[in-house]
């Protein structure tokens, strides 16, 4: 990386070749202590990557290459594209899904040969593996990132249910289809028009009367009701629908919640609309209606009345990748702002030479780095704690939005331009504070998970 050193310097700083520069002085330390001083001007991305477990270093590299090659050319275009009727997908996005499927990005929740994760990488937690990829994708485009990754949220309940039969019957064939160039997406349907936070919070759930009901009939269940804001629900071939039960005319509450795998082709399932969103526009948020949809018994995932537990387990795993979305979008804003201040001159001098610009760039890097390492550290756990996952989710996404605001401030009048990308980063990042439990609900999840500690202190 020696080529990064040159005789010029950013204003207010010594050149790397100056006699007082650590770049010049540190290599002169004795061999005994030279390993304790770092003087290589590696880009921060490389430095961070080297801190990852070996298997994830390569994964991070691959994710960046794919994102730059396949997501970057579509990012601004798809963000500004016409909103298509529910159920339709832009042909260029379909091509992206095909490429992602062939390269294993739609089957990376299981190790090879079942899925596409190198066995050596599977020694790390799946949340960690996903977080690395999601961060790189989100850095380039929140919308196409969500298009590719909401799918894993639909896979997660099947995997976490431990229902081997369901994995064999539903997941493995879908992975194979995707690898062969016929993308088979899953979606995760918990939110109802009358319940957003209630399906993500214990007390809310205990008081909520679900509106999607599965009524027992011979050989299966008949589903009725509506789900809303379902990411990727418009184009998914398989949807995991969480429903309360009605058996022998008795309607049960949230404790009866059961995940059903509903195929797109099942009669009575309709995509009513996809929302006009502020950002992440390449991915649809669908409202789904179920009108007497017959679902056979063997499409119950994980057993009857296991839905609430599976839902909570899924959220503990998925909130780490959502935090990674925040990290990636913040990094995207930092990168766009950095590009702008290095390329734009004010009265003949690149903006980066101005001290106020340097201060903001440093702050944005620090904020992004802080949430990245918070998330990576917590992602190491194979069984993410609720408090840890929620803390990562709300803190990373809150800080990410602030970083995006700083990037817009840095660009000033130019910050409003779509082409400069920072305003898109803001719009995309803004969703991460809301979905997967609002950041308010996630704060309360932290307390729920820590309550024994508090109770113990109160009892003393």
């Amino acid at each position: 990386m020696g080529e990064l050193i040159n005789t010029s310097a950013i204003e207010g700083h010594l050149s790397g070749l100056h006699n007082l520069s650590p770049r010049k002085l540190f290599p002169l330390f004795p061999g005994l202590t030279r390993p304790l001083v770092n003087y290589k001007p590696d880009p921060i991305w490389l430095r961070d990557t080297k801190l990852l477990p070996k298997a994830l270093q390569k994964h991070r590299h691959n994710a960046r290459v794919f994102a730059e090659k396949e997501l970057r050319p579509l990012a601004l275009k798809m963000d500004a594209a016409e909103h298509l009727p529910a159920g339709e997908i832009n042909p260029e996005l379909m091509q992206l899904l095909i490429k992602a499927g062939k390269q294993g990005f739609l089957s990376d929740m299981l190790p090879r040969p079942l899925g596409s994760v190198p066995v050596v990488s599977y020694s790390n937690s799946i949340a960690y593996y996903q977080a690395i990829k999601v961060e790189e994708f989100a850095r380039v485009c929140g919308g196409t990132m969500l298009l590719l990754n909401a799918h894993n949220l639909g896979i997660a309940p099947i995997l976490l249910s431990g229902d081997v039969s369901a994995i064999r019957r539903f997941v493995l064939p879908a992975f194979l289809e995707s690898k062969l160039g016929n993308p088979h997406l899953f979606a995760f349907a918990i939110t109802e028009p009358s319940a957003g936070s209630d399906v993500e919070d214990g007390v809310g759930a205990s008081l909520y009367q679900p509106r999607v009901i599965a009524k027992k009939v011979p050989g299966g269940w008949v589903l009725n009701g509506r789900k809303c804001f379902i990411s990727g629900g418009d184009i998914a071939k398989s949807i995991i629908v969480f429903s309360a039960l009605e058996v022998d005319g008795k309607r049960e509450g949230m404790e009866s919640w059961t995940p059903f795998l509903v195929k797109k082709t099942m009669k009575g399932l309709r995509v009513e609309r996809t929302e006009l969103k502020m950002g992440m526009r390449a991915s649809g948020a669908a409202e789904l209606s179920f009108e007497d949809v017959f679902v056979p018994d063997n499409h119950v995932i994980g057993g009857l009345r296991k839905g609430w537990a599976i839902n909570r387990a899924v959220l503990n795993h998925s909130r780490i990748p959502v935090a990674a979305m925040g990290v990636g979008l913040a990094q995207g804003a930092v990168d766009a702002a950095t590009e702008f201040v290095c390329k734009t001159t004010l009265v003949g001098k690149p903006l980066i030479h101005y001290q106020e610009i340097q201060l903001m760039i440093a702050q944005m890097n620090a904020e992004t780095s802080a949430i990245r390492f918070m998330n990576w550290k917590q992602a190491e756990a194979y069984a993410p704690r609720q408090a840890a996952a929620s803390m990562c989710k709300f803190h990373a996404t809150d800080r990410a939005v602030k970083v995006c605001e700083m990037a817009m401030d840095l660009l000033g009048n130019h910050g409003v331009l779509h082409d400069n990308n920072v305003e898109k980063c803001f719009r995309d990042a803004r969703l991460t504070q809301i979905f997967e439990g609002t950041n308010q609900i996630n704060r309360l999840s932290v307390i729920e998970d820590m309550q024994e500690e508090f109770l113990q202190k109160m009892s003393k």
């Binding site: 957003g196 734009t344 409003v416 305003e423």
Partner: protein, 389 residues
């Protein structure tokens, strides 16, 4: 509001409180009766034709003064009484921030053309670019405006800032159909002048999908160096500086007033929604998590409104510029946070275009970063105060 009240008979007098109230309620009726029905679906962008029709109606009721008539329209009461304009812009922005910005831009163009003795009949078609292509003139602008502590290179810096450097475009927002652009520059004697450029003589790109103000358009102008203006102001340097300082203050007050109105609109949506939406068996405005968000919105609205009313009740002059920038620097941050809190109060639906909240967030962001970000305003204020010792 009749023509007599808005017409030339009151041109130079300061209105009484009762008259202000009367005008205020008239404008509120206009906003709710004429603008609101056209923008009731926030996901549908107001057309240029409808925007023009609203401008015509605004002329008819005197909110925007006619070219040859002075009255009590926006910025017509002058530096002695900007309060009325601030209130009127807030009223309109409560319904639609883009329409409010459009009205402000017309009124500011009219004020500037009139004050600079340039052809006022161009006001309707005149866009304004008040600042340079990036930032707020660094520390050179306060020195120049105050004629204090000027340093070698200041004039060259400001000239380049205002003319462009042939690499970075000027970005400004205006109605799509503008024909002339009013822009300040530094002449060969180092004096401040305003020039009126024909659109045809400039290299202009209309940018699509900009962050805020869907009703208007965002333009990139490649610069003014070497472009021959169709008109140049010929007032004295001191007079022109005074007018420029006033224009900067009018602009800052308008941006705050519009953001305030937009956030009041967002707060209404958020508080109405949280009064009916249930979570955990109770309406969400009974949960501390939502109360904190609503409280933040209310506090921001009240603190900005009171600051703005106080600020715009005083006579503006060159000396008040730093104070106006100080309040703006804080206000936009607060209002952007409040707009975000309104969106957060509504959860998922707050993110959807048809609720209208995401538009408020975008419009407030656009106002925060345009013609002086909080950081740029802070740097300006610091240098200004340093010069004052």
């Amino acid at each position: 509001m009749n023509e007599k009240m808005m017409g030339s008979e009151v041109a130079s007098c300061v209105l009484s409180d009762d008259e202000r109230l009367l005008i205020g309620s008239e404008i509120e009726r206009f906003a709710l009766g004429s603008i609101a029905p056209l923008v009731e679906r926030p996901e549908c962008v107001l057309s240029q034709q409808k925007l023009n029709e609203l401008s015509e109606q605004a002329h008819e009721i005197g909110l925007l003064s006619l070219e040859d008539v002075s009255g009590a329209g926006l910025w017509e009461q002058g530096a002695a009484a900007p309060l009325l304009t601030v209130r009127l812009l807030t009223s309109v922005a409560k319904v639609n921030a883009g329409v409010a910005l459009h009205f402000h831009q017309y009124a500011l163009a009219r004020f500037l053309l009139d004050a600079l003795a340039l052809p006022i009949e161009k006001a309707e078609q005149t866009a304004i670019s008040l600042t340079g292509y990036y930032g707020l003139g660094g520390s050179a602008l306060p020195r120049y405006l105050l004629s204090l502590g000027e340093e070698a290179g200041d004039i060259d810096f400001l000239r380049c800032w205002l003319d462009g450097d042939n690499s970075t475009p000027f970005v400004f927002t205006a109605s799509a159909t503008w024909e002339t652009l009013l822009h300040p520059s530094i002449d060969s004697d180092g004096d401040l002048v305003f020039s009126l450029y024909s659109r045809q003589d400039l290299v202009i790109d209309e940018m699509s999908d900009s962050h805020g103000f869907d009703e208007l358009s965002t333009f990139c102008c490649q610069g003014f160096d070497g472009v021959k203006p169709i008109n140049v102001s010929s007032l004295t340097h001191q007079l022109t500086k005074g007018i420029y300082s006033l224009a900067l203050q009018y602009n800052a007050l308008a941006y705050m007033a519009i953001a305030l109105g937009a956030v009041q609109h967002a707060y209404k949506i958020a508080s109405d929604y949280s009064a009916i939406r249930e979570q955990g068996g109770v309406v969400i405005n009974r949960h501390a998590a939502v109360q904190l968000l609503l409280g933040e919105q209310r506090s921001s609205i009240d603190s900005v409104r009171i600051s703005l009313e106080h600020l715009s009740s005083s006579r503006l002059s060159l000396e008040t510029l730093s104070t106006v920038f100080s309040i703006r620097s804080i206000s936009h941050r607060k209002l952007c946070d409040a707009a975000n809190a309104a969106m957060q109060s509504c959860g998922g639906i707050g993110y959807m275009q048809d609720t209208g909240l995401e538009k408020v967030v975008r419009d407030c962001n656009a106002l925060r970063v345009t013609d002086g970000t909080p950081m740029e305003l802070s740097l300006f204020i610091a240098e200004w105060e340093r010069l004052h010792g």
